[in-house]
Amino acid sequence: MMSQGVGINAMDRLRLDSPDRRTAWKEEKERKLAKLKQLRAERENRRRKQLEKEAQEAAVRASSVPRDDQDLDKMLSSLGVAPVSEVLSSMSSMSSEPGGDHSGSPDKSLEANSTASPRTPSKKQPQLSVVSVQATNIPPRETVTYAKGVQTSGSGDGHGYYEDWWRPRKAEEEDNSLTMLDTPPIYGGGHNRHLPPGILPTGMPTVQDVKPALATEAEKKVEEEKPQPPRELSDEEKQMLMMTEEFHSFFDRSTRILERALAEDANIFVDYSHDYEEDGEANESGGIKLSLNRWFYDERWSRNRCITCMDWSPQYPELLVASYNNNEDSPHDPDGVALVWNTKFKKDTPEYIFHCQSPVMSATFARFHPNLIIGGTYSGQIVLWDNRSQKRTPVQRSPLSASAHTHPVYCMKVVGTQNAHNLISVSTDGKMCSWSLDMLSQPQESMELQHKQSRAVAVTCMAFPHGDVNNFIVGSEEGAVFTACRHGSKAGIVDAYEGHQGPVTGISTHSTPGPIDFSHLFLTSSIDWTVKLWSVKETKPLYSFEDNGDYVYEVAWSPIHPALFTTVDGSGRIDLWNLNQDTEVPTASTVVEGSPALNRVSWTNSGQQITVGDDMGKIWIYDVGEQLALPRADDWARLVHTMGELKNNQADDDQSTRHYDSSFSSLTSLSSSPLR
């Protein structure tokens, strides 16, 4: 009643909108609290009453139970049934008998139970006790996932994760939670701001695949962009690119490879069911003693220049260096050119192009430095080129000084061993200098080659006998050949060999390895149209070859055949002499196409090809037929025999010439007599 009254009054008060609403609220609260108390008190009273009742009932039962039992027992015993206690005990002994017991008198059994239980000393009264149920709230296991976005999100909004989660948020923030459904469940983080810790916004944890990182999305975008055509470069940009160093080195490498590839033509598709032409040609070439293989000529660099020297690389037998004179027709081009040619590939452009300011009179590969090429110039300078650098000009050169050469350097050679080698150079003023390749600023030692009362020898050619580093042979402009010594007591000119009537143009020492050593032999060629064979031991020539009709510019022994040598002359003629076959005429001879004057000749290391340089800038490569080029085992012995014959012939000639002189008158008389 009181509560009702309170309620109505309260409602009236609220409706009135009185200013003292707060007080009304307070009173309401107090009334409610009082009501709660009342209810609680009533509840407690009821409970107490119930408990008392139960206790009383229990007590009543307990007290009343024995009387009932006794009555029962009497009744039962009258019937002849065993006393209840026995029955109960038997019943209790039996384990489970659901059917019979239940179907029987349930009341009795119950009563029996109830009666029996208090009777037994150990009263199995169901112990009722208030048990407080421990309700544990195990939070669901959350899958910890990782997403890039979450880590970078800021948390400076003031609504921290643990702060005020129970406070109702505005609608916007609640909307944020809805968007969270798209993203994978996140443990912690700034997004779950309004949820109690541990509870996921999505409710029950859902198993979601871990989404890949954002990077792959970026890759996909890039791939999509690729099919778009690449941007064009302007002409200027292209020009700029072509100026760069990288471009040049790339271009140099690639064009080199490509030119070789282009030159090697498609022989892989040759159909052999056709006539095998190549075989026929090969047979023919086997018969021919001297046949042209190819030539090397560069329109730009070797045109109109005389070839002054040729040398083969010791490391790469297919590389040939040729030095060129100046081109009178083009004064603006560098005066001295050296080109490295490759005989292995069909590419007909030089491997390397080098030039310098003074005509190059001699060139050689640095024997122990595969990358260096040395040139001796008209000005007396020694220049050094390196094929590792991109430059075409010399990387090193000797100075123009009186300590070095002041005359053209026609002869150069690298002698010695790997660890102790020198470059020997001789110029036409008779000066011989020995250089170290590391330092070209001044020669290591220099020597004047003088003969007969300090008369300098104008050296035009030089050769070292095979295996000798100390003694060498030089040919001079006067026609005399000298042997000289580099070191020792007899340093300088040792012997003079007179024989030629004109400047000596070429010397070749015998260096063919074999059972018999002929290294004392050497050949000289001269302007006087002859080639002479000498021995170091004799100052007079052993033999003179007089078949030529023009200046003989060079002579060269074959590296494999002991009795074979070749000569070239100013009429374009190449001669092959085989001493064992014929000493009067060359065994093979051919004229180079166009009949240019041939300045230089050289054998390849294999001994089966001859390279000839002419004065128009072309290098001709001729194949020598196998029968001619390859020596037979008895060639050495035959050469000894030949030498003996030559000696005898010479002795006879000498005698006969003496006889001629003495009996000239008799001869004339003899000759005149037939006429009578």
């Binding site: 055509p229 490509l258 282009l262």
Partner: protein
Amino acid sequence: MSAEVEETLKRIQSHKGVVGVIVVNAEGIPIKSTLDNPTTIQYTGLISGLTDKARSVVRDLDPTNDLTFLRVRSKKHEIMIAPDKEYMLIVVQNTNE
């Protein structure tokens, strides 16, 4: 220096059977070409892809290996490709005997 490049290109171009020469950079943009523009673009696009694939084949088979030269022979032409780190040189040659 570019005169030398021009000279070399002219020399290659004048070689027997050569149809065209193209220099391409790493991005697939033609730097220099002796063919007309649409053909150049076509060749460049197709060959860049082929070269990349070939290079990946070589490197997948052996990671220490690398592509040095590629030759594609067909009935009518032969395409020779010299790839490099930054650039690539392509030469097209006729294969008539």
